[in-house]
Symmetry: D2
Subunit: 331 residues, 4 copies
C-alpha cells in the first residue's frame, strides 16, 4: 500500500551538525524501499527557485561526519508572502512529489504547516537545531554537538582563566532557551550559570551574580571563575554585563561571545545516531501514511508528534540538574 | 535524620571518562550537606592498604574535564580472598565511615555486595564503565566518550581508506557487549558491523561478511569499506579475521585495533553531566537511607536499582537501529 | 665549573600553551645536573609576595599536555614602581638564587632587564607567547597551538557559512602583529586576510575589502566567504567593520571574535617540543655562563640572542606566503 | 616565456594530510597564470587507466581542511613493468601535458624519474608523506599532523595508564625512520622512546629497556610508564616486545598499535601551510623551467632539490633532542 514514489527533503533554518546524517538516512532508507529522493537546496527557497536534484547513493557517501548541510539552508522571505505557501505547494505538485520532509526547527515547521494547506501530499518534520527548543523530542539533532563545541571552548578559557586567576563570562547560543547554556555550564563545571530559566537579570540589581563571586573569592580560594551566560540574558549583551560586573566588584571581568562556532563542526556520535534514526523513521512513517507529524525521540524511542504542537515548548529542563546547580554547583 | 557524617568513595575496574565528574559531584554535594568525604585510592586496594585521603574542595577543582580518575583504579586480588570482604569492611568501620560509594561496573558492584555482608554502613553504586553493560541505567558514565573517541579514529581511517579505496576492519572494545561497536559503527557510517548481538561468526562460514562486501563493490562503487568489529567476535581476533577475509576475497583487508585509546580522553558533555547527576544523586539517596542500590538514569530521570541485579544484562540494544543497520545501513 | 646551585623560573605575561613543557624541561634538566629549581607564582608578583615552591619531579609529571601554566601568570604593577626591580632582585639574593629563567614575551623580558641592573645572578629568557612577536627565534612557544585553535574555530564557521552561503569576519589575536592571522588565514583557505602587515584599513575607503568580495560573488560562485581579521585592524573593532561592510555591499556580514579561546588548550606537538627544547637549552646555557640572553630556535637550532634586542621586531612574515595570498589566495 | 599551457598533478604512495592543500594551491596558482590543471586519479594508475579530469576552482573549494586526497592514491604495479614508464609518458604526450607534478614520497619520485626518461615535458615533485623520510626538505607534508594525531592517542593512553598505574607500549608508524616516534615521544613526555636511530633492540638483551623502567619504579614513583616504539623496531613487533617485557619484569605491559589512524584526519595548520607553499612554489618553478626537482622547504624558505637525491636520507634527526631524551627525558 506504499503510494509514495518520490519524496523530497530540505533543510531549513539555522544549520545544525547531524543534518547530513539525517539526509543520508533518508536517502538510504528510501532507496531500500525503491522511493526516489529529491533534495531541494537553500531551504524553502529551493521550492521557489526550482533548485533541486535527485539524491543518489554517492551523494550521501561520507557525509555523515560533515558539519553543515549538503542541501544548504537559508531564510526564505518568499514563503512569508501571501502567495508563498501556495506557490511552494505548486512546485511540489508539478514535480510529482508525494511527500516532503523538512529538517529544521519549529519556525521551519510553521512554514511546512502553511504549505500543507495547499499541498495534497504528506509532510513530516525532523527536528534539527542546536537550540533543543522543539517540543515532542527529548533532543534535537545538533544539540549534543553544540554542547561539546561550547565545552571545548570553555575548557580552553578555563586554562587561561586559571593561569591568570581571572573572571570570564562566556556567552552561548540558544535563542530564548537555556538548554545549551545549562548543559555546557554544568559540564564545564562553571561557577555560575545565567539563563532564562533561572530568572531574568536586571542592570539595577546584580547582587544575584555578585554575591556568589565574592563568596568564592573569600571562602573557596578558586583560581578562576567562569560564568556561562545564555544569549539575550542581559540588556546590551554579555559584554555589557561584563563591564557592569567589573565596575561593581573592582575586578576585571572579560566577556567571550562564542557565536557561530557552535553551529559547525563534525557532529558527535549522539547527533549522527539521532539524525540517522529520525531520518530513517521519518521515511518509514511516511510510507505508513504519517502526515503533519514530527519524527522525534522520547525515552529512547522514535515517536510521532503533531507538527502543530512542536513550538509549544512545554519541554522542561532537567529539574534535578537545575536544582543541583543552584544549590550546590555554584558554590 | 541524616545520620551520615563521613562517606567514602572509590573508583574500581576499568577507568572511564566522567569518573572524575562523579567524584567532584560527590564531594560538592556532600560538602553542601556537611558530610566529610574520604577517597580511597586504587579501587578496593585502598581499603586494604589504608591508602586514602579526605577530599576537599580544591581536590576536585578543575577535574571535571580530565580523563582517568584522580583516585586511580586497579584490580584487587585481596578482595577475592576468603577473608577479603571482611577485612575491607573492617577498614570502613575503623575509619568511622558511614557509607561507601563505588564507581565502577558490575564486577565492582559484586565486590561491594560481598563487603556489604560484613559492613554496617550503607553502600551505593555509580555505574562507570565505557562498555555500557550495566543494567538499571540507560547509559553508563564513559560510554558516550568512548563512542566519540572510536568515531574520531574511524573518521581518520575513513580518510585514508577513501584515499586508497581500501577495506579496513576496526576493532572496538566492549568486553562481551556490542554497545560501543553498534553505536560507533552506525555513527561512522560503517559499511558493516560485527558484534555479539548480530550472531556469532565462524571461520568456516564467512559468507555473511563477504556477500555484502562483494555487493558493495559490484553495485555501489563505494570508494572505501569499513567493518567495525566488537572485540571477541572472531577466534584469533580481528587481525585473524582480516587475514581470512583478504584470502577469501583477494583484496587486502587491514585490521586496526583501537585498544586502550578508548578509555582515555577528556569526557564529552554527556558523560560529565551524567557523572555529575549520578554522583550528586548517590549522595542524596544515601542521606535518605538508600542501601545496596545503584544510582542510574532511566528515561532522563535519576533512579535507584538493586545493586544485585545490575549484572543481569537484560538491557537491549536499540532494536530500531539494529534492524535499520541490518536491513539498510550495510547496503 | 658549574657554580649554579639553585635557579628560579617564572611565567609572565599572557599564558601560552607549551609553557608547562618548558617548566618541565627546566626541572628535569636541572635535576639531572643536581641544580635545585624554585618556581615563583603569578609571574613577577611571586618575587614581591614571596610566593614560591621548590619544583620536584612529581610536580612536573603529566603537565606537558596541559594548557595554561602551573606557575600561573599575571601582570605585575609592583615591578613598574621605581623600587620594584631592586626589590625583586633582593628576593632573589635573599633566597640564594643563582639564576632566573623568565618564560614570557618581550614585555616580560624588559622587566627582567630592569631586575638585572640590581641582581648579581644570571638571567635568561624563554620566548612564550602566542603572538610570535619576539625577535631572535623563528617561533615562540604557544604560537603553533594558537594557529590550530583558530583554525579549528574557522573550520567550524566555514561549515555554517557554507550551509548558509554567508560572509563571516573572524577576528584573531596578535596584539600588533599579524602572525596568527596570516598563518591561520592561509591555513583556513580564507578568502581574505586583513592584518597590519597588509596595510591599514580606513573607514573612508573599504574598496580594498569590497572589491574582492564582489569579484568572488560574480565570477567564482563561492558558497561562503571568510575574512580573517587581526585584532586592532579597524577603528571600533571587527564588529564595526562587519557593520560597515554589510551596509556597503547590502549583504549581511557577521563578526566572530575568537578572543581568549586562543590562549588555552592542550599544546600541539610543535609547542611541546619547542618548550622542551628551549627549556632544556636555557638550563644548559645558564650552566655555561649565559646571561641576559634569550634561548631561541632559528633554522631548527637552539641559539642565544641578546635579551635587549628581542623587542626590535625585525622578524619578517614569510614573504612568499604574503605575496601568494595577495596575488592568488584571495581570488 | 611561459611555454606551459597544461600541467598534470597526481598523489602517489601513502596518503598524507595536507595533500589536498597542495592540490588546491596548484590549481589556484596555475589558474592565476592561465594554466590548465589535469588531475590524474589513483596515483600513477590514472596514467594507465586514462582516469583524469580538469581541476576547476570549485573542485578545490573547501578541501584544504580535508584529510586524504581528492585525487586518491594507490600503488601502481603497471609502472613497475618494463614498458610502464614509456606508457605513462605516452599518456602525458597524448594529452598535451607540458608538465607533471607528483605529490608523494621518495618511492613515488623514483617512479617519476623513470617516466622522465621517456617524457619530453617537465617533472617536479612535492614531498607528501607522514614519515618525513625525504631528503631536501625540513618537513614533508603530513608529518606535523601525524605527530599530533599520535600525540592525541598517547595522551588518551596516558589517562588510562595513569589511572591504572600501568606500563604501555605504543607503536607508531614511520617505515624505517624514527621521526614521528621521536617527535611524538618527546612531545608526549614518554618515559622511553625506541626507534631505529637509537640503536637496534635484540630479544636476547632487553636490559636497555628494562633498566630505566626499574629505575623509574624504584626512584621516581611514576604512576604510569609509556614507551613509544617505532614500527619495525623489534622482531615480531611491539606486541611481542610487550610480552617479552611483561615476562622479564613481572609487570603486565600492554601494547597499542596506532596504525592507519595516523594517516587520516584534518591537517594541522603547519601541513596546510606547507602544502599551500610547496604546491604554489612547484607551479611557479615549473613556469620558470624547473625540471627533475623537488619543491622543498629548508629553514623556512622554499627551495629546489634534485629529485634523484631525495631518497638519500642524510637528513639528521635533531641531535639536541636526541641527546636530551637519552640523557634526561627517559629519567
Amino acid at each position: 500500500m506504499n503510494r509514495i514514489k518520490r519524496l523530497a527533503v530540505l533543510t531549513s533554518g539555522g544549520d545544525a551538525p547531524g543534518m547530513n546524517a539525517a539526509i543520508r538516512a533518508i536517502q538510504l532508507t528510501a532507496a531500500a524501499c525503491n522511493v526516489e529522493v529529491i533534495g531541494f537546496k537553500h531551504g524553502y527557497n529551493g521550492l521557489f527557485e526550482q533548485e533541486y536534484k535527485t539524491l543518489l547513493g554517492h551523494h550521501v557517501q561520507n557525509i555523515i561526519q560533515r558539519g553543515g548541510t549538503i542541501l544548504k539552508s537559508a531564510r526564505c522571505p518568499a514563503l512569508q508572502t501571501p502567495d508563498g505557501p501556495a506557490q511552494a505547494a505548486a512546485t511540489l505538485h508539478q514535480l510529482d512529489i508525494d511527500a516532503l520532509i523538512v529538517i529544521g526547527g519549529d519556525g521551519s515547521f510553521r512554514g511546512a504547516l502553511e504549505i500543507a494547506k495547499h499541498y495534497q501530499g504528506q509532510i513530516i518534520g525532523v527536528p534539527g537545531t542546536i537550540d533543543n527548543d522543539v517540543d515532542g523530542t527529548d533532543n534535537t539533532i545538533g544539540y549534543a554537538t553544540a554542547i561539546d563545541t561550547a565545552l571545548d571552548a570553555i575548557d580552553k578559557i578555563r586554562d587561561t582563566a586559571d593561569a591568570f586567576e581571572r573572571i570570564f563570562l562566556v556567552e552561548l547560543m540558544g535563542r530564548h532557551s537555556g538548554y545549551i547554556t545549562l548543559s555546557a555550564g554544568i559540564a564545564a563545571g562553571a561557577e555560575q550559570i545565567i539563563c532564562p530559566e533561572f530568572g531574568s537579570l536586571s542592570p539595577d540589581d546584580l547582587r544575584s551574580v555578585i554575591t556568589p563571586i565574592q563568596h568564592a573569592q573569600l571562602l573557596l580560594g578558586k583560581s578562576s571563575y567562569i560564568i556561562v551566560v545564555a544569549e539575550n540574558s542581559y540588556p546590551g549583551g554579555t559584554t555589557a554585563l561584563a563591564e557592569a560586573l567589573s565596575h561593581a566588584i573592582g575586578i576585571e571581568c572579560r566577556a567571550c561571545i562564542l557565536g557561530h562556532i557552535q553551529r559547525g563542526g563534525s557532529p558527535v556520535g549522539a547527533d549522527r545516531i539521532l539524525g540517522t534514526k529520525l531520518g530513517a523513521f521519518a521515511v518509514e512513517q511516511l510510507l505508513q501514511g504519517a502526515h503533519l507529524q514530527m519524527a522525534g525521540e522520547i525515552n529512547g524511542e522514535a515517536v510521532l508528534y503533531p507538527l502543530s504542537k512542536t513550538g509549544e515548548r512545554q519541554k522542561a529542563i532537567d529539574p534535578f540538574l537545575v536544582r543541583w546547580q543552584q544549590q550546590v554547583g555554584s558554590y
